[in-house]
Amino acid sequence: MSSVFDIKRKKLAFMRALRRNSSVRVKSSDDADNIFITCPECKEIHAKNDLAENYYVCPTCGFHYKLGAYERIALLADEGSFREVNGKMTTVDVLEFPDYSKEVKLARKASGLNEAYVYGTCNINSYPAVVGVLDSKFIMGSMGSVVGEKVTLSIELASKYDLPLIIFSASGGARMHEGTVSLMQMAKTSAALKRFSDHGGLYISYMTNPTTGGVTASFAMLGDIHLAEPNALIGFAGPRVIEQTIGRTLPEGFQRSEFLLEHGYIDQIVKREDMRNTIAQILMLHERGQR
């Protein structure tokens, strides 16, 4: 049984890590919006600082707030162990799509990220791994050529150093502004995962809210192990498109993690507070399996 002190210690470590690694900081301000947040699920009001201490999970109803890439890594990686790779890669406007460059500029400013996928090496409970995280703050975490390339590079990095690979998905799917070139990234990442798997690599796909479209239909669904955060939307077609196609509303809970578990597409639903321990356990169990 874990004692109260263990929990306290864990939270403190998390807060410390967050302060160190986070690109987004909760600023102290008189503005009430900056201090308090209303849970979109249960409408309870919580202080943002309390929320941060609770892994950005609503203490009342357990709603999992969206987590940025660096915040996720801060929660997962051993303190100070994360080394980002190719962090400076920026979006390429392959189709010279109207207003795309402008949108990218805005997304960079708003998210503090260069692109929607962040990856690198780190230790998780002392087990080395390659970790990649999609961040939905950057154009819905959509996959264009740079995301596709970086996902592929992260797979190749894991392969090169015989490291396990963990990818956190949060994406609206393929990036519209890069058209068919975006689409082809599904083939590229899937093919890279086939090579990695043939090489004996362990790949944990961790699906978070939302994981849809071309990301679901490629690397998110090709893991040796599939994990998901509670109540995350996971699917190929978006709920709105399905409703338009079948002409009626979808039942409660459709395409949510629990639904996918029931239909055999994920191994376990893992709450955010258990994420680190669950992944460390899987890495431990596969340690001998790594070549």
Partner: protein, 267 residues
């Protein structure tokens, strides 16, 4: 000479009801077709035909996305929108082709994978992902021809090939122009504008390095002379197949891998 067609015109031609369908190509180009049905897991999906047949006397695995030639066929083929079972059947056929060392020839023609409730329950995304995953490693030649609509992941599932060819007026896109306009501009009526910016025509995609070959169509579109269109496709498949047949299985897999590895490489 007719005026240059717009992207929107080509989308209309790609969807033309009289445009030759996968079955037209299969009936004309192959003999002794033995149809294989079912994914061995859940069911049969008639919207994709898989089978073994002879192409110029040589056994091949043939895979075709079927659009109906009349109302009855359209209903039976679910308007060319496959269910997960269809993709799992494709994967089964591809693995069998590899086992018996047969080339795989795919005809792509779908508005997209079916966006229905049952399709989601049975893992549409996983089924498509698994197809690309398996195709990427096949040690036999794979040729894919987009003959009409190449709709999103539902088309790409059959498109991880050594040679990807497109008929001149076919399209290959991340999403339908209507869906694209609706998502990006919240206005599906701007679909003609969407066609212009999406770069979904065969020529655009050839220039972007996404496909390997554009196959000319008769004046005004394939529907004006199906026999001539089918002949043109036959010539290109035949030519490509004989060159691919010279290569070893591992070279074929490596070349296919590198081809997709390079697409959209920003460096």
């Amino acid at each position: 000479m007719a005026a240059e067609l717009t992207a929107y015109d080509r989308v209309q031609l790609a969807r033309h009801p009289k445009r030759p369908k996968a079955m037209d190509y299969i009936e004309a180009l192959f003999t002794d077709l033995f149809i294989q049905r079912g994914d061995r897991l859940f069911g049969e999906d008639a919207s994709i035909l898989t089978g073994v047949a002879l192409y110029k006397g040589r056994p091949v695995t043939v895979i075709g996305q079927c659009k109906g030639r009349d109302v009855d066929e359209n209903v039976r083929f679910n308007f060319g929108m496959p269910q997960p079972e269809g993709y799992r059947k494709v994967e089964r056929a591809a693995l069998q082709a590899e086992k018996f060392n047969r080339p795989v020839i795919c005809f792509i023609d779908t508005p997209g994978a079916y966006p229905g409730m049952e399709a989601e329950e049975r893992g549409q995304g996983e089924a498509i992902a698994r197809c690309m995953y398996t195709f990427s490693g096949l040690k036999v030649p794979v040729i894919s021809v987009v003959i009409g609509e190449g709709g999103s992941g539902g088309a790409l599932a059959l498109g991880v090939a050594n040679a990807v060819m497109m008929l001149e007026n076919s399209i290959y896109a991340v999403l339908s122009p209507e869906g694209f306009a609706s998502i990006l501009w919240r206005d599906s009526s701007r679909n003609s504008e969407a066609c212009d910016v999406m770069k979904l025509t065969a020529r655009d995609l050839y220039e972007l390095g996404v496909i390997d070959k554009v196959i000319r169509e008769p004046e005004g579109g394939a529907q004006n002379n199906p026999a001539q269109t089918i002949r043109a496709v036959d010539i290109e498949i035949g030519r490509k197949l004989s060159s691919l047949m010279q290569k070893s299985g591992s070279v074929l897999a490596e070349e296919r891998y590198q081809k997709f590895r390079k697409i959209g490489n920003p460096k």
